[in-house]
């Protein structure tokens, strides 16, 4: 037997989980070869060492501890659905968004009253601006307001231009009656197309406020979902250019 064959046979026997030092062929070769004798001794020692492997015993209650932990884990997983508090959070966010929209609508509609802003109101203001000097802007606004007062009362969507309308009182929304609440929201919805036009103006003046439109659309959708189902009357669509915003009539707010 060659030394190479000896080594291969040692590995073969170990792979078969047999003790190499008990193999006659290996024994005979090991007697005549010191290197192979050393190899056989090493492998035999290792083989004995593996056979004497020990490890400490587990605690007696190990299995029951594992099963208890598993059951506790499963219970925790089952209880987890009751932790769906994000829904409450979402409800809060939606309510806040609706309130913010109401406040925003009112603020936008009252804007011309609060600030004389040439170029930020309707066509009549534009005309007034064209004939008046900057110093006369206050006078032009007064004229505009007087013209608005002469107009008959009509739903906001019927107005040909961006006439500011009186925003419905927030007190209406505070009333407990669901119907009155719905009416208040309906009135608010009627203001939205004008607010949209104002939004265009705002965006033209400040392109950085672009996300306002998205927030607005989202808030309108939210309001739509809060309106009581009995209100089915659809408002007339304004014959204006498409503002790009999903206004209440388009999403069936009323």
């Amino acid at each position: 037997m060659q030394c190479r064959e000896f080594e291969e046979r040692v590995q073969f026997l170990l792979d078969e989980r047999q003790a190499p030092h008990q193999d006659a062929l290996l024994q005979s070769h090991a007697q005549s070869c010191a290197g192979c004798r050393q190899l056989l001794f090493d492998q035999e020692t290792l083989f004995r060492g593996i056979g004497s492997f020990q490890f400490p015993s587990l605690p007696r209650n190990f299995a029951s501890r594992v099963v208890s932990a598993q059951i506790a884990d499963a219970d925790a997983t089952t209880v987890r659905p009751s932790k769906q508090r994000p829904w409450l959070l979402a409800m809060g966010v939606v309510s806040t968004a609706a309130a913010a929209l109401i406040a925003l609508s009112i603020a936008i509609n009252r804007w011309p009253d609060d600030r004389a802003a040439p170029g930020k109101v309707g066509m009549e203001n534009q005309q007034a601006k064209s004939v008046a000097s900057p110093g006369d802007s206050q006078l032009a606004n007064e004229k505009t307001r007087a013209a608005n007062r002469e107009r008959p009362e009509s739903p906001g969507l019927d107005l040909p231009d961006n006439q500011p309308q009186t925003a419905p009182s927030l007190a209406a929304a505070d009333v407990d009656s669901l119907e009155r609440y719905g009416q208040a929201l309906q009135d608010l919805a009627a203001q939205v197309p004008q607010a949209v036009d104002r939004l265009d103006e705002v965006e033209e003046a400040t392109p950085g406020l672009r996300p306002v439109r998205t927030s607005f659309t989202l808030a309108i959708g939210t309001i739509r979902r809060t309106i009581p189902p009995q209100r089915k009357q659809a408002p007339p669509r304004p014959g204006k250019r498409d503002s790009g915003l999903l206004w209440p009539g388009a999403i069936g707010i009323a």
Partner: protein, 191 residues
């Protein structure tokens, strides 16, 4: 090593475990806790770490029993999970000094043959220095008596790779035992 329980029996137990039968879970853990703890102890070299890894292994196994392919052997699947837990533990935990690990073992076992026990401890210490994957393959082969095919399946490597790892583990163990003076020079011994 005890033989794996009959496949049909094991399938029935697993089915009961999946239905939430606690006695079946208890049976399953008791049946395999020796194998799992043995591997974890050999891989981690420390009793508490091995116990923790064993518990984590069984929790994972019980949680993922539905993923076990009943057409395959249970033990390689189980030991694959145990091996993964051990490798994770090795990667995240700092090992205790070898002396401490040895103290664990000495305090625990009471073998009759002191020489055999000391030899086993030496082999165990040498094994702790062998590369993780070599060690896992070596322990699964020699201590758990899994076949090369089962180890390959368990470790997710080709069969030839497992053979190479086990052979290298043996060679490295012998080198370490020689370096520690455990193996005597037999080249000039008269037989």
């Amino acid at each position: 090593m005890t033989a794996c329980p009959a496949v049909d029996e094991l399938r029935a137990v697993v089915k009961r475990c999946l239905a939430g039968d606690q006695s079946a879970m208890l049976w399953l853990v008791e049946r395999f806790q020796g194998q799992v703890f043995g591997l974890c102890y050999r891989m981690l070299g420390q009793r508490q770490d091995a116990e923790d890894a064993s518990q984590e292994t069984f929790l994972r196994v019980l949680r993922n029993l539905h993923r076990w392919d009943a057409a395959r052997d249970f033990e390689p699947w189980l030991l694959a999970i145990a091996g993964n837990r051990c490798r994770t533990a090795l990667a995240t935990r700092k090992r205790r000094p070898a002396a401490e690990a040895l103290a664990d073992q000495i305090a625990d076992g009471e073998p009759d043959h002191r020489g055999a026990r000391q030899l086993a401890e030496e082999v165990d210490l040498a094994l702790a220095d062998v590369r993780d994957d070599y060690r896992q393959a070596f322990v699964l082969f020699h201590e758990h008596e899994l076949s090369y095919g089962e180890i390959a399946e368990s470790m997710g490597v080709p069969l030839g790779t497992v053979k190479t790892w086990v052979h290298r583990a043996r060679r490295e163990l012998i080198e370490r035992l020689r370096a520690r003076g455990v193996l005597e020079d037999q080249r000039h011994a008269v037989s």
